[in-house]
Amino acid sequence: MATDSNAPTDKAPAQTRFIEVSRIEAGFFPFAMISPAVILILLVVGFPLLYSLYVSFTPYELLKPNSLNFTTARALRNYQKLLNDEVFWRSLWNTIVFLAVTVNLSYALSMALSQLLARVTAGQSLLRTLLMVPMMFAPILVGMQFRWFFNANVGLVNNFLISVGLIQEQGQIAWLVDVPLGMISIMIASIWMNIPVLTIILLAGTLSLPAETFEAAEVDGASGWQKFRFITFPLLAPFSYIALTIMSLDIARAFDIVRIMTDGGPARRTEMLWTYITRLAIEDTKFGLGSAMSWITVSLSVLFTLYFFRQLVKARIVR
């Protein structure tokens, strides 16, 4: 691999020693080690994706087997349809808003939580077990739990608000219906699911920071916020990128949550690319149109992940 020599200066403060790896030339041996993985991925991910690219150029509908035929004249029809489809744009916009808010807030809250946990002196290990509770939930289970929590009639949240007198029994809040509460409810569920892994990584990072730096800063009279802003936060950069990369790889798991909590409704207020694909392709059995949208979604996901990976590769020195 070529060297990436611009990274150390801006990303790595002097106190942190990144691992330097010198790689060995080994002819075909590494290819032999990688090839099973690559072949499998090509077979199970690559080939199906290519096939769905083909399907996306046809008017294929599952219940009409004859519709799987490619004609040049109609090839781009599905894509044209989508570009003119108001719901598609709406679901794209919702997806972007959802991702932007969820990723940033998950990160910010996990950062805060990790700083809080780093100060805890009693019961660290029990607290960490509590922290990992959301990891035990399948995304679909997260969706079911939170849909129930936010149920307007019998849900925990409204009932709690009624018990403490914040709202009246008649004034139940329709969490999963109102704008923007619907999106916010889904975001809360997703963020809840994202927090453990992010916090664990950031906490481990925080605990590994050298104490001398902070002592020096204290001598200079730095406030807690200043210490965080100018010392902890920059030093945590590599951990942050690991955390964000993991999250970006797993973000599509949020689909299960959306599907269970609102399924894109009501009135498409929370429609996202994933729910719209499911509706078009699985429920209406329009595989051609669904595949076209899948491809747009795949492209976006890949770009999104690519961005984090570039950051990660920059943060790690590879020589």
Binding site: L49, L131, A138, I200, F239, I242, A252
Partner: protein
Amino acid sequence: MITRSVGPNRGRNDLIWNAVAWVVLLLLALPAFWIIMTAFRPNVEINTFPPVWIPRRLTLEAYANMFGLNPEVQQRVAVEAYLRNSLLASGLSTVVAVSLGTLAGYAFARFRFRFHTPLFLGIMLSRAVPGVALSLPLFLLFNRVGLVNNVLGLALVYVAVNIPFTAWLMDGFFRQIPKELTESAYIDGCGHWSAFWRIELPLSLPGLATAAIFAFLAAWNEFQIVSVLARNNAAKTFPPGLFAFTEQFTVDWRGMAAMSVIMMAPAVIFVILVQRNLVSGLTFGAVKG
């Protein structure tokens, strides 16, 4: 270690921080308590108003119903089938994905070769493909080769889905192992393979464990792909199985919660067993501590 605040306020501050941390984390864990309580409640306490916060009585009815121990309710939810399929698909895919991912991760960490970065990125990006986008073409293709509604087909997909993350974790882990060790192995006359197999692999066991747990849980909890590929109980795993509690008009919330508790068991065991490993496993190689 992080600095602690110094001065007369230190004791009081610590107390406040500890209290805040406990409150926040108990809130975070609340859904787990709730799901467990729901599983063991009498049915009349579910969906009532005003709500019953703490169950007045604990009961195993939901489990008796589920496992067919209640003569009044014939068993209709195929828990055993879901368990078998979940274990098979997740177990098989974990073993294969971790093996292949470790090989790939090692190659990326140790060797210089053509297309190193594109290959690495390509593998990683395959993980970014959303399951819903993959499930459609997989269904069409698998249907032609008889892998639809087949646990092995499902396991195959999970292998491919889990390789990238494993390769990435293991790449990081192998970087952490000092290169001097490998170099000394070569001096001792080891080939590439035995250097990997005899020296580096044993050192990377904690990373391997982390990778295995993540792969297992990812497969165990996966829903988008299995909901399309599994047509009936012959291949259904727990996540689509949860919908068996949805009847024509109603949902058996307690039954669902009861099965969810079973479904969460492996995750609970893993998290408790490997809490410490998980931390070091996930932060692999970002910093040499």
